[in-house]
Symmetry: C3
Subunit: 372 residues, 3 copies
């Protein structure tokens, strides 16, 4: 007989609606943790770049002359002009400011600064681009905006070795959809971390995997997740539920019969299927706005086959995504009510209660740090 679960209540509304609180949360989760950016592979060649806005800051990600990944703040050291207005592209060999032509190498060093020759005490070496450390895990690129970060592995809490069999570093995206959702970023993580809503919200998903088949692992500081079983006649999560691609090489039999769902805080949702991997990268834009980049990754061998078509996986999840964003937006609206009071979590929402505890502990620690 299953054990009883103590009553746990959801958070007060201000955790989702207060702009002041939101800014503090960005400090804790997006300016003091490794943040997922995207695929390292997307920056394939020297000079290739992408620009991402992270917690209000714009950063340029590029590969330097030694093919090392680098991240620089997108603000000129002369007078602050945005260096790069494009979202992606390739630098010839330097990064040049459009205003007064200060010129930086791909390693961030200041190479040229017109009109500075007569300025007393000026040295180019004092004005490299501001840099942020980057790290890579199985092809996933991370950046850290804070000071003296611990290694990425520490934050991943040992989970970095758990998905080696999928060899994510070998996979490539076949599709990418960007969603703008009018809901707090934590609601997206909450929504991802329980399937109690699946029967009502996702009838198509429900046909492929029973919502009670999900088995969560206990919540950890940086990771919330578990796995759900595919129904007997189901091969993977697609519109038809049939496997039309080979399973990823190296997966065990059990790994081909399950879907793994892991939220790596603060902003990577990793969904591993027998034949493909899906990532959601969350970008908080306001307390009630989240930009979500969803990518579908496949094995290059499959992608090279004539007639390769990712639509069955993309359509299934695009439908499911939109159903999820809708209920998250309805929750965001409902929380504006002055009548709202925290309500009780069900025992299928244990990861949510775990995430909330982490939030409260983080807030308390930050309070202690300010008033030690």
């Amino acid at each position: 007989m299953p054990q009883n679960v103590p009553l746990a209540l959801s958070l007060p509304a201000r955790y989702y609606t207060s702009t002041e609180y939101y800014e503090r949360e960005l400090d804790w989760f997006f300016r003091a943790m490794w943040v997922h950016v995207g695929r390292a592979q997307a920056l394939g060649r020297k000079g290739a770049f992408q620009v991402h806005e992270i917690a209000g800051d714009s950063l340029i990600f590029t590969r330097d002359d030694a093919s090392r990944l680098r991240a620089f703040h997108n603000t000129c050291r002369h007078r602050g002009t945005r260096l790069c207005a494009q979202a992606s592209g390739t630098f010839a060999s330097t990064i040049q400011c459009p205003y007064h032509a200060w010129t930086f190498g791909l390693d961030g060093s200041l190479i040229a600064a017109p009109g500075m020759d007569r300025i007393e005490g000026f040295a180019r070496a004092d004005y490299p681009l501001f840099e942020a450390p980057v790290a890579e895990w199985d092809g996933n690129l991370f950046v850290h905006l804070g000071e003296s970060p611990a290694p990425l592995e520490t934050q991943l809490g040992g989970r970095d070795r758990m998905f080696q069999a999928w060899r994510m570093q070998d996979l490539a995206p076949a599709r990418r959809i960007v969603y703008n959702v009018a809901a707090n970023w934590k609601m997206i993580i909450h929504n991802y971390s329980e399937c109690l809503h699946c029967p009502g919200v996702h009838p198509a998903l429900q046909k492929l995997s029973h919502y009670l088949s999900g088995e969560n692992e206990p919540a950890e500081p940086g990771v919330l997740g578990g796995k759900m079983k595919l129904r007997d006649n189901v091969g993977t999560l697609t519109m038809e539920g049939r496997l039309t691609r080979a399973c990823l090489p190296g997966l065990s039999h059990e790994e081909t019969r399950s879907v793994y769902y892991y939220a790596f805080l603060p902003n990577l949702l990793l969904s591993l299927h027998p034949d493909y991997v899906m990532t959601h990268t969350l970008w908080p834009r306001a307390t009630d706005q989240t930009e979500i980049v969803c990518e579908w990754l496949f094995h290059p061998g499959e992608m090279a086959r004539p007639g390769f078509n990712p639509d069955d996986a993309v359509e299934f999840w695009d439908l499911t995504n939109r159903q999820d964003w809708h209920v998250c937006e309805e929750m965001q609206i409902g929380l504006r009510s002055r009548a709202y009071r925290p309500g009780p979590y069900s025992h299928r929402e244990d990861l949510l209660a775990g995430f909330d505890r982490l939030i409260l502990e983080t807030e308390q620690r930050a309070g202690n740090a300010r008033n030690p």
Copy 2:
């Protein structure tokens, strides 16, 4: 010879422009008074519902199994999701949350809550919908968002019996227009409460009733109003001024020769004509934004006649409304000036001075309550 009137000045600009003050005013007038919602008749059958946003809160108005009118906050007791996204419709027999399917009866009781069976100490009886009391006066529906409200009759100050002859509970709306006006809600009440502006702003109205014919009653805490006389050759307020419908049954001769204008604070403007009743319901949306729902009510007997046409009344007042909203918006813009100083009221603006005194007294009482 008419008596002299002491000098009274209009209010400082912050009463119309400060967002902080606006929020306090919502507390005093919209969260601690009975607020007009609309026609009780519109919720005719069991399960029929309307959703209204009142002072930032969303409320569901419906009729329960015993045909009693009820008002519930539109936020699920589980995790706060908005229960009902539609503006109106009919519930089958319950109110179900779109997220995790918590299900409430039309009396607000929690009937079903999936996944809660193993939660220690959880009882459905502890989680009914949050309810707000409603009341009805001659077919007009009111709601109260505050605690332990006095009876509606007390707020109406005895005026609830004054308009029995019009039998508003028998009338039905033939037309409804919603206006979004860029002016503070109090300016709409001010504008309604004097006709000094009529000669210049409303030439069509001026032809039907001389602006000096208006006789205000002394301002009372919850009610500002009076009546104006129709000119001799005028039958009612329409584009042509001719009576094309029977007068409402039960009106005295004098009542068929006048138009009564009463502002019931905080948000009902009631305009009674010989052959129809017009209501304005004011919904403050921001310190400089008011949504105004205007309805034209007629006698069912007239509405059943072949060729019934409310256009002459609707066009006349739609024109007059738009003229009024325009000058209110110009006042809202003018008050933004740092040079603005309170100016002197004329003796035709006595109700406005009375309303302002009420505002100041309310503010002072609230200040005393906070610092007793």
Copy 3:
């Protein structure tokens, strides 16, 4: 050998991004200095009017019965309604409020106030329009929103006599373009005050005048400027660089071989060419929004010639303006970065460092005034 220049750093980001600081700056520069409005000539006849929004206030500029220029706050003394919603036009002989018909003379005196006859102690003489002093310099109209202003000449610091030869009072605008720029107003002045950016940003300008030909005068409290030399084969700043109009009469040879650029704080940029004068009038609208009115003034003798065409001057500067606004907007975006730190000015940016010092001194004086 040129002398070395001490290192000076640009300002912290809050000077360009903080809404609170922006409001204080409006107090110092736009509510306590003479502000440029436009051409006095544009208000040619009695009753002609223009409305301008200055630092959040709306002002009516008109010519009274004695043909004197006057400026009035655009808010009725009765209840604050905006008097004039049009941007420009001609008053018949009075200014009448659209709401209750309070009527003011062109000298601001209250002439009629309906319904005030029975109000004790009311006197029309107590309610004239609020007025602001105006002043004129060589056809340029200024207004002062503060108390007891020093004469305009004091603010111009003697420069008012420097450009007499151009006889600006005789010139007339042939073209006017209004730009809305997403950058702080001080960035526009900075941009105007250095040509270090010209080789990269303005290739067309660079062909006509070498950027190193500019000679700045030392920055003064109210004036930043200097002159640049036209290249030998260049007659004026136009797309082709050829003089197609006579030089302005009265200019010396040297004056016909240079372009003078003077920023008169807080909001007039005066660019004097051999054959035309260009003015930029800056209207701060938010900390990151500036409305810029650009006018091209020519000699009436030239304008009267058959085939007069200002396009060569207008196109050249419209192109150059847009290039400038673009880099200013990129700087505004770049400054949002939390990583931004003040950077070093080159020796070609001495006027900018001078302007920054003025800003800091003004801020310090204001701080002292509050805490003496």
